[in-house]
């Protein structure tokens, strides 16, 4: 057959990755008010690929193919739309220059990274709600679909769609520019970006059961965005702390669930399955986070993750160090969830009898109301103290609060352990 199709597979997530870059590039060329047009154009370019490649084969440089076609479609769209008025020919010339640049321009990767950076910074504009920042970042920069975002965050598709429409309208109405803020505005914006990136990561990490790949993809995308920012001129030690934290936590993902999808406690994980490349990345950024005097929550959390990660070689977890970190974290952020995590470290260092009063004191915290982990930790401490009947009560209460099957199985096993201990 003529035009023998390429035998090599496409790079994983190529479409998603290229979508983010192309939307960022075209939005800069068309103006931020036309981010929707940029998205439609990119969508159409990918549809063209889908209509062509299955017959003609994958072109030698699929990314460049999509880039070129998206630019051509954008030129058509600009000529067709009356809205660009007298600016039409200037915009068309800009798009043409950008289209030609992909092949010959040695700095193209850096320029595209800059486009993406400006885009994520715009998506995290304080005029938008936090939910809108997250959804918009995933859609526009991450190349995620509405359905994927909805599934990852367990909300209705229509809710996400509406949130995106409203966010884009706000950007348009407030004439938000696609530019890098400076000074105090940059500091504030960077905080917002890091918060969004960490929210995305946590959403994937908190419930990544190994079954739903979309959630794992969230961790990957958050890490990618973190590295993008860490590799740019706006990077700060706190950015490196966040990347370190995410990399060290993500390194444990492959070992975190068993074949049933059940969570394996950290100490029982097969450390050979921890991702050594991610651990190395995490420690690299951990070192870089030490420049300067800032100690953010990300720093302390990264220090905790680093302490766990060191067990990959030593085989033992330095709980005294972890407790020290939690003391520090509690000083920075006296939240009930931090206090609960600290109680676990207290139990490891000083024993269950020292930790139980801390956990009991948290029971009336509104934030932990019907929080199964509080009850599960309490149950475990009681079990360790030989108070099986009370432990079983706690695990039974915890069972009433859980939503996922793995959590249910975990607690059922604990209940069996209580019965066996009696």
């Amino acid at each position: 057959m003529t035009g023998e199709p390429e035998s090599g597979p496409l790079i994983e997530h190529l479409f998603r990755r290229e979508a983010g870059r192309m939307v960022a590039r075209l939005t800069r060329l068309l103006g931020p008010a036309h981010v929707g047009l940029a998205e439609d154009t990119v969508q159409e370019a990918m549809a063209r690929a889908l209509a062509t490649w299955p017959y003609a084969g994958i072109p030698p440089n699929p990314g460049a193919w999509l880039f070129r076609v998206a630019h051509n479609l954008a030129i058509d769209a600009v000529r067709r739309h009356a809205v660009f008025g007298e600016k039409t020919s200037a915009i068309v010339a800009d798009i043409e220059r950008s289209a030609d640049g992909r092949q010959e321009n040695p700095d193209i990767e850096e320029e595209l990274a800059d486009d993406e950076l400006r885009m994520i910074v715009m998506c995290c504009h304080p005029v938008l709600s936090r939910d809108a920042r997250v959804a918009l970042s995933l859609k526009v920069v991450g190349g995620f679909g509405v359905r994927e975002i909805a599934r990852a965050f367990m909300v209705e598709e229509a809710t996400i769609a509406q949130r995106l429409v409203r966010a884009k309208r706000q950007l348009r109405n407030r004439q938000i520019k696609l530019e890098m803020p400076s000074g105090a505005a940059l500091v504030e914006r960077l905080d917002s970006v890091l918060e969004v990136v960490y929210l995305i990561f946590n959403e994937g990490y908190a419930a990544a059961s190994g079954v739903d790949l979309v959630r794992l993809d969230l961790c990957g995308e958050a890490l990618r965005l973190g590295c993008l920012i860490a590799g740019s001129s706006i990077a700060t030690p706190t950015v490196h702390a966040l990347v370190s934290l995410m990399a060290l936590q993500a390194a444990r993902l492959p070992a975190r669930v068993d074949t049933l999808g059940d969570l394996i406690p950290l100490e029982e994980q097969d450390r050979d399955r921890w991702d050594r490349a991610l651990i190395a990345l995490g420690f690299d950024h951990f070192d870089r986070s030490m420049a300067g005097m800032t100690v953010s929550e990300f720093h302390v959390q990264a220090a905790i993750a680093a302490t766990y990660a060191r067990a990959i070689d030593s085989g033992v977890i330095d709980w005294a160090m972890i407790l020290q970190c939690y003391d520090e974290l509690q000083a920075l952020n006296p939240s009930p969830v931090v206090a609960l995590n600290r109680a676990v470290a207290v139990a490891k260092v000083h024993g269950a009898s020292a930790a139980l009063p801390i956990v009991d004191a948290l029971e009336n915290e509104q934030a932990l109301h019907e929080y199964y982990l509080l009850l599960a930790v309490r149950g475990q401490l009681l079990l360790d103290l030989g108070r099986q009947t009370e432990a079983a009560d706690a695990f039974r209460d915890a069972l009433l609060c859980v939503s996922t099957e793995p959590e249910r199985r975990f607690l059922s096993r604990k209940l069996t352990a209580c019965a066996m201990a009696q």
Binding site: P5, P9, A51, T52, P54, Y55, F144
Partner: protein, 110 residues
């Protein structure tokens, strides 16, 4: 071995899919195309094409087939199979069906 033509029809405005979904679909098409019984495959150009009809004097040429059906012919594959049963069986897992398209199977005269 007999040859069969698979005519791939698609709806003109398929529902929007995410980049990841599109890539996965594309990968399935590519994998299918590498099956040992596939002989050829071509995409038709995206336009409506021309239709030439006999008329008194000179044949009349018009744009497009103006099919009643909403589906348009997007491309074709040529495959080998012993008979219709095998040709159909080999086509049942074609990703085009999963993507919402229709496949018409026609045996070539030999």
């Amino acid at each position: 071995m007999a040859q069969f033509m698979l005519l791939l029809y698609q709806t003109p405005n398929p529902p929007a899919r995410s980049p990841e979904e599109m890539q996965r679909s594309l990968e399935k098409y590519m994998a299918w195309m590498k099956k040992p019984f596939t002989v050829d495959g071509k995409r038709l150009a995206g336009d409506a094409g021309k239709v030439i009809r006999p008329a008194a004097g000179q044949p009349r040429t018009t744009d497009g087939p103006f099919s009643e059906s909403k589906e348009v012919l997007g491309g074709y594959y040529l495959i080998e199979a012993a008979n219709y049963d095998e040709a159909v069986a080999r086509t049942l897992d074609h990703p085009h069906l999963e993507a919402g398209g229709t496949v018409e199977v026609r045996q070539l005269w030999s």
